[in-house]
């Protein structure tokens, strides 16, 4: 192919080549879209991730349960007075990820801690009621969380995440 034109004098041939090339590029991009989009969660998975309701009545003080929402374990802890106090009186300046306890529970429901039970380090499941802070201990790399699910010690960078949830009544929450 000989292109005898310069940039200042575009010829009809140049226009045709550019137009064809551009159309090919548009077509290729439009083809790639569905090939990548198919990797996202399918409609059934999304539908199955709808909010769930959990009845809190069977959980006695000091106990906790694990429920699954969108494939993630959610810890629901019925905290003791001691645990609540410990969580509230820790000076924020001593925390790696400072957050008051009040920001991690719903007001008026101080006894209920609802957190996603996935270590913020590398995704292992921390064990409840273990470690030095009356909270959670991750066996993988030794991260320790307190009774508010906040990181206190170890390699994890952040507090245990709080999922979106709301109290439907005093004894029932909806997660999601």
């Amino acid at each position: 192919m000989t292109t005898a034109s310069s940039a200042d004098h575009p010829t009809r041939r140049d226009f045709l080549f550019v137009a064809t090339g551009a159309a090919a590029a548009v077509g290729a991009a439009a083809t790639v879209w569905p090939l990548v989009a198919q990797m996202n969660p399918d409609a059934a998975t999304i539908a199955a991730g709808a909010p769930i309701q959990v009845d809190l009545t069977p959980i006695a003080e000091g106990q906790d349960i694990k429920v699954f929402w969108r494939g993630k374990p959610i810890y629901i802890s019925h905290r003791t007075k001691k645990q609540i106090e410990e969580a509230q009186k820790v000076p924020l300046s001593s925390l790696p990820d400072p957050q008051p306890d009040s920001a991690r529970v719903k007001s008026g429901h101080d006894q209920w801690l609802v957190v996603i039970g996935i270590c913020t380090h590398l995704g292992c499941i921390p064990i409840a009621h273990e470690g030095n802070y009356d909270g959670f201990f991750c066996p993988c790399h030794g991260s320790q969380y307190d009774s508010s699910g906040r990181i206190r010690q170890g390699p994890a960078p952040a507090n245990l995440a709080v999922p979106p949830y709301a109290f439907l009544s005093d004894t029932k929450i909806q997660i999601g």
Binding site: A44, T45, A50
Partner: protein, 690 residues
């Protein structure tokens, strides 16, 4: 691939790599500087089209494998979930399924082209044999891929084809057991077919590399059949052949897109929308259209072993073609007799394909035998004989002479190629339209449906009324297990809001569990739940319905069909008629008559239906006037009920149809513009070469 290259990249980084791995030189010498005969016509673009198809099949196949479950209990459902729930899953599945047919369509043209122009002759024998090996691998891959959806045709196709090996003397049974991994076709068979179906395309890709290597050693054949001698005979592969191939590919994609977006089930078999049932064989076992000629040869021989041998010989004989046809002149252009016999042979092959799709009885068997003899006679008698008796016309001295001689009147080639493709495709493909519901039944009248044609859309009111009919009448006996309540709020569906769908769901009781006490319990339905089936299992359904289990209706409009016959199936290809299923369902619902015509006996517990195959249906007349009241004032007649519930069931079977047709139109507009641009670009580029 034609020896060491003198290509030197100028970029220092590329130079560094080139000294250690001369890959850019290889690409340059194989696909840029490679001299290609300047007189190649559009039949030569099918090599590029086939490469594209192989890449596309591997790409879509790898993606489908991400969502597919190779288990006998889950495979059918997982395919349905791909089509319904995966983002663009319907598109990917249609591409892969229609892609298999397009791949074979292109390979047949490629093979016939080689046959016509003598591309198998010295020094291209190995090139040709590698091609036959690719073709055999394609057949194996296509067959195993067809088994994966685990529908009725998948299962029985697998049974019949694997049983071919039982014809082997002494070891037959052991071989078949080995292939199955069991005493019959079952889960182990499905698992190994999946594994091999994933493997073989890469083997094909490997042999394709050898095929191209051999091609680049011998050089391409060309329509004149004379070897390139001087530089005047050739043009560099890039840009000349590249741009021409790209134009050919663009035209082929238009043809391909017609199937993907508008005729996705035209090449398939309605029976494959029925989940595999090891207890019932479909009335007509028909392979995919691309195997039909060989299937016809198999069936035309009354002896089991001889039939299998004949079928495999029909393919293997191609390997010996370079020696069977010893004529010096390559191209049939200069062989007046060979040219005529070639076209007769093409007709024989299409004829065998048609016969393969017909029931093996009466005239079809005799015609099959005659054509089988013709098929083998072409290779064993005609070609060897012609080499001796035919006087060929003089061939041109060189390719350049050939180009000069016919430099006029080639403008229409592209258009005629496209037209020929479409026509041949329609004919080939249509020959698969086989009998489903016609046995002993009357052909259902063609109805007018809002969803037919390239702009078809579901009538929302009809969908909502149809849902009501299903809920109040059909759901007493028939499940709808692939449809979830959330689907009622999907775009392109009945048009309910999410709140309405949730409210609709909550009216149902869904079995869930086990709870903390380990017990199952019932709760109100949620949008994510599927329509509950009326019976806990098939046995219960059978017991409650006089021995005939009412089929699940999720796919019924795609799982039923009827024979359209010649030439109707060819017209259907162009008119995009795809509504055999809805026509049949609608007709069945209206086909109940109290008066049984003379000569028809209806057994106890069955009812007369004008359109049901055999007329004796176990389902009592389900609908009668006034049974369901519509809020929108539509007439409460059986005709209206049947129309609405059929529309609803068509949506249930094909929930993304509106998206398919809408995207299809966009793709068509794009492809047509693109093909025009490619055509003019190709002309500009080639203007230098003439």
């Amino acid at each position: 691939m034609s020896g060491p290259s003198d290509f030197q990249p100028s970029n220092p980084a590329l130079k560094w790599i080139e000294r250690r791995l001369p890959i850019f030189g290889l690409i340059h010498s194989s696909f840029v500087a490679y001299p290609t005969p300047r007189n190649l016509n559009y039949w030569w673009t099918f090599g590029a089209i086939l490469s594209m198809m192989l890449a596309l099949q591997i790409l879509t196949g790898v993606i489908l494998a991400m969502h597919y479950t190779p288990h006998a209990d889950l495979a059918f459902k997982s395919v349905e979930l791909i089509v319904r729930d995966v983002n663009y899953g319907w598109l990917l599945r249609n591409m892969h399924a229609a892609g298999a047919s397009m791949f074979f369509f292109a390979v047949y043209i490629h093979m016939f082209r080689g046959l016509y122009y003598g591309s198998y002759k010295e020094p291209r024998e190995v090139l040709w044999i590698l091609g036959v090996i690719i073709y055999l691998l394609m057949m194996a891959t296509g067959f195993m891929g067809y088994v994966l959806p685990w529908g009725q045709m998948s299962f029985w196709g697998a049974t019949v084809i694997t049983n071919l090996f039982s014809a082997v003397p002494y070891f037959g049974e052991s071989i078949v057991t080995l292939l199955w991994g069991g005493y019959s076709v079952g889960n182990p068979t499905l698992n190994r077919f999946f594994s091999l179906h994933y493997l073989l395309p890469f083997v094909i890709a490997g042999v394709v590399v050898l095929h191209i290597w051999a091609l680049h050693v011998a050089g391409q054949n060309n329509p004149a059949g004379v070897e390139a001698k001087t530089e005047k005979d050739t043009v560099p592969f890039t840009p000349y052949a590249t741009i021409k191939d790209a134009f050919g590919v663009a035209c082929f994609l238009i043809f391909f897109a017609w199937f993907i977006f508008y005729m996705p089930n035209y090449l398939g078999d309605a029976d494959n929308y029925i989940p595999a049932n090891p207890g019932v064989t479909p009335a007509h076992i028909v392979p995919e259209w691309y195997y039909l000629p060989f299937y016809a040869i198999l069936r035309s021989i009354p002896n089991k072993l001889a039939g299998v041998v004949a079928m495999f010989s029909a393919i293997i004989i191609l390997c010996f073609l370079p020696w069977l046809d010893s004529a010096r002149t390559r191209s049939s252009k200069y062989r007046p007799l060979a040219k005529q016999f070639f076209w007769i042979f093409v007709v024989v092959c299409i004829g065998l394909g048609y016969l393969g799709s017909q029931p093996p009885e009466g005239i079809y068997v005799i015609a099959g035998r005659i054509l089988t003899v013709c098929y083998f006679a072409y290779f064993l008698i005609v070609l060897p004989l012609l080499a001796r008796i035919e006087t060929p016309r003089p061939v041109p001295n060189s390719i350049a002479d050939d180009v000069l001689a016919k430099n006029k009147g080639r403008a229409a080639t592209a258009a005629s190629v496209v037209l020929a493709l479409v026509l041949a495709g329609g004919l080939f493909a249509g020959s698969t339209q086989n009998a489903k519901a016609e046995e002993g039944g009357t052909t259902p009248p063609a109805q007018s449906w809002s969803f037919s044609g390239p702009f078809g859309k579901y009538d929302r009111g009809s969908l909502q009324r149809g849902l009501k009919v299903y809920k109040e009448v059909c759901s007493a006996c028939h499940g709808l297990s692939y449809v979830a309540f959330r689907n009622l709020a999907d775009a392109g569906g009945p048009g309910y809001s999410e709140a309405q769908a949730a409210a609709f769901a909550s009216e149902y009781k869904i079995k869930d569990g086990p709870n903390d006490q380990g017990e199952m319990f019932e709760r109100p339905g949620r949008p994510a739940d599927y329509f509950p089936s009326p019976f806990p299992n098939e046995q219960a359904a059978r017991a409650a319905n006089g021995g005939a289990a009412p089929p699940d209706l999720s796919l019924i409009t795609k799982a039923r069909s009827y024979k359209r016959g010649f030439p109707q199936f060819v017209i259907d290809f162009f008119s995009q008629y795809q509504e055999q299923g809805p026509d049949y369902v609608d007709a069945i619902l209206q086909g109940f008559e109290d008066k049984v015509p003379a000569g028809v006996t209806i057994p106890e517990g069955s009812y007369y239906n004008k359109y049901f195959p055999g007329h004796a249906i176990k389902m009592p007349k389900p609908l009668s006037d006034g049974q369901v009241t519509f809020d929108d004032g539509s007439p409460a007649t059986v005709k209206q009920y049947a129309h609405d519930v059929t529309t609803f069931l068509m949506w249930a079977a094909e929930p993304h149809m509106e998206a398919r047709k809408r995207i299809g139109m966009q793709v068509f507009v794009f492809l047509i513009i693109f093909a025009f641009l490619m055509y003019f670009t190709k002309r500009k580029v080639w203007a230098d070469a003439h």
